[in-house]
Symmetry: C2
Subunit: 479 residues, 2 copies
């Protein structure tokens, strides 16, 4: 009973304390656990199953665009990390160093990869000789380490799981096209699979990746109005190629440097799912990413035939969705609360009266709507309900996001918005990093992106300094 109690105990309300609500959900939905290794987490079965679904769907989408998977070492020799100067400056302060192997000190210390651009360059240098060897469109699924000071489950941890794609192309145009293509793969994946709407855009010079010529990003808005950078795609031009000497002979036998890209998405997307869709009863999983989509809960199990009928129902549903049945000796109330905490999209209640009337009651996790369904029609109705729920979850998240985009025309208005209205702030920017720096310092607001699609000129003056400005920026407080 101790375990039941723990699950059903009220969690902190999200309006009261969003950060605590997040921590409560992560813990009570049994997604992660703390460990003896500071800043690192255990991803428990309920959390890892979400990651497995993310992986398999994203991997499928990658492969449709010609991506091949590989695996590179987790260690980077110090000399290799130092080959590209912006890159090493960006990452060296936050890496973990291996200095001893076996019983002996290492001759050269190795960092545990924080990202693998330098390793891929070292690899491509040997692999690429001719235009025939291009393009290379490789990806790896692995964990990386960044020695963060403050950590939170999924959002920021010293070790996290991700995929990192690294490509090499003959021309600048091809590299740019691949950079945009992968950002769109991420955006479509987020919107279609996770029901998380995103803004697609470009990072400013200040916010771009260490060593990149351009960084593209998708930015999602969490329920509390904070932004979450959800996937990035970088165009490196030929900067790394020059630093590492990655050249190919073109058709005229001229040596040229390759153009490269990289792009990544991480376990932090599980954090996005929680903070976009969750509510005061716990997790709410979009049906497509939910490891378990339907929980059958028999009511009055002691009555003859109820359990059998419920099991029969589960068996039938196995063909059309991911379904389980709860036949433990807990009360229906406990079972409902558990199913809600875990975010299982639909529950099916089936009691003696329902059986008499040849029906069951389906309850949607997101709206709590109760739908009576004839037992003859469950196989058709459940997939339709799951699809409808997926679609409506996206629309609701989008409406919430759109209702939290504010325009600011001068610093006064910008400041007031930042202090009182959670969400994205649209504001013009002159392009001077000094303005970005001031906004970050004074208001803890950062430039999220220069959007691709929404290029409306809401004013002709910089929201910070008042000088002429042509660039629309989405600003926000971010995780």
């Amino acid at each position: 009973m101790a375990k039941e109690k723990k699950l059903v105990e009220a969690i902190t309300s999200m309006e009261e304390d969003f950060a605590q609500w997040y921590t409560d959900v992560v813990k009570k939905a049994e997604l992660t656990d703390y460990t003896s290794v500071k800043g690192c987490m255990v991803i428990k079965p309920a959390g890892y199953a979400i990651w497995e679904n993310i992986q398999s769907e994203l991997d499928r989408r990658f492969k449709e665009t010609g991506v091949q998977n590989v695996y590179l070492p987790m260690f980077i020799p110090e000399s290799l990390l130092q080959m590209e100067k912006d890159h090493v400056e960006g990452f060296a302060p936050e890496v973990a160093w291996v200095t001893q192997g076996g019983m002996a000190p290492l001759q050269e210390k190795l960092c545990v990869r924080p990202t693998s651009e330098t390793l891929f360059c070292d690899f491509y240098k040997n692999e690429i000789h001719s235009y025939r060897d291009l393009p290379k469109v490789y990806n790896q699924w692995c964990s990386v380490v960044r020695w963060e000071k403050e950590t939170r489950p999924f959002l920021r941890s010293r070790e996290f799981l991700w995929q990192e794609g690294h490509t090499a192309h003959a021309t600048a145009e091809e590299a740019e096209a691949r950079t945009v293509q992968m950002l769109n793969v991420y955006a479509d994946f987020c919107e279609e699979f996770l029901a998380v709407p995103v803004v697609r855009g470009q990072k400013t010079e200040k916010e771009k990746f260490a060593g990149a010529e351009a960084t593209y990003t998708i930015e999602a808005l969490m329920h509390d109005g904070k932004a979450l950078q959800s996937g990035t795609s970088h165009n490196f031009g030929d900067g790394f190629a020059k630093a590492f000497g990655i050249q190919y002979a073109d058709k005229d036998n001229q040596l040229r440097h390759v153009h490269q890209t990289s792009w990544g998405m991480t376990t932090r997307m599980i954090g996005a799912i929680i903070m976009v869709h969750g509510d005061d009863s716990g997790l709410v999983l979009p049906p497509k990413v939910a490891p378990l989509q339907v929980m059958v809960i028999p009511i009055q199990m002691h009555k003859e035939g109820v359990t059998e009928k419920a099991q029969e129902l589960q068996e039938r549903l196995k063909k059309v969705c991911r379904v389980n049945i709860d036949v433990t000796d807990k009360s229906p109330g406990w079972k409902f609360a558990e199913q809600e905490m875990r975010g299982i999209p639909l529950r099916i209640e089936l009691g003696p009266k329902d059986i008499e009337e040849n029906q069951c009651v389906v309850v949607r996790r997101d709206t709590r709507e109760k739908i009576t369904v004839s037992l003859e029609e469950v196989e058709e109705r459940i997939p339709v309900l799951l699809e409808q729920m997926q679609k409506e979850m996206f629309e609701r998240a989008k409406a919430h996001r759109d209702a939290h985009i504010w325009d600011a025309h001068d610093y006064e208005e910008f400041k007031e918005t930042a202090e009182t209205k959670p969400g994205f702030i649209r504001g013009m920017w002159c392009g001077d990093q000094a303005c970005e720096d001031r906004i970050k310092e004074e208001l803890a607001v950062t430039s999220r992106c220069l959007p691709f699609h929404d290029k409306e000129q809401i004013s002709d003056k910089c929201v910070c300094c008042g000088r002429p400005a042509h660039k629309l920026v989405y600003w926000g407080k971010a995780y």
Copy 2:
């Protein structure tokens, strides 16, 4: 043309130099590459695709037995590694140590996991309170690090990919049953999916895992007569539970220690596939594990309609197998050699004459048998041919293995067999480790296992010391 040449260049014959042949195949089938990180390899697309198939099939088999996947940190604090004394003695000499995180030295050094028993124990200690929390049957897919001195691609590297299952049970019987169950999952997987026959058995005290009460193993025989330990499953009893204090309250509210197991299989299985099935033309992949099962090669592509017809054939075959087509401008001879080097199970040759006669020629990679198949029947015939090839590859490997098992009755015979006849040697053993030590030292032969099924008493005397012996052991030189 440079690339073609590299592929088709003759490789070292396996009879001449098996080790060099292995290195050549790994390189020319483009499975791995060397890196700037000593002892670590890049697994290239052709190699990683094999691992993906191994993963997905093994994971499916695990889940059928109730396994759930999780992810634990890659770091182990020194104090945690030291909790179980046999375990730390076994692993401490070969771990890599992180001593610096970010810009500061760590207060306590962290080893990069060589295996995760200690982390799982630390996790289970917090997760397990009551008999209701049992069993825990968790697994993780990850990489591990062991600071080996001599390394070879797939067989022994400083970092390798694997899965490690870790379970906790209420009783010793249940733990023992799970240990055996997982060994059988491995054995069936090897035989059914990789077409690699294995001997199932128990390791001696000397060869068992550091900290285990019993280690079960599957041992495969490579083409050169050397053994390869291919998967192990360990029963820890309650040793780790006592060291870590993992207790549960039973139904009578008595505190009891859990009983634990662990089991792992690694990327070294790719080495096993190479060394069991390969030949002097390169890799030979069993159809089930082959990323690509069929390569269509059009002959006389310049003739009208040939390429189109071949593409049409490929399209039709996509529904029944993993198929590709080679329409590059290389000669058919080059294409054949490439397909053979890469171990693609079947190639289909289709030229103008074949088209006239409404047929194609299917060539099996293993036997080189040429089979003429009517174009109307390819969808039915190809899957049958793949299945037949899978079956015959297993039978051939088993016949080769069985033809390389020798009996030895005394030390003289044992020594001569070890020196002249590659393969397993069956010999009785008194149970004294001194005999194992002597055999290892003098003959470089180790006890592979005490077999589960083959318990024939081929003599009543120890093959080493001549004292009374009741234990049959499979001995061998091993990778």
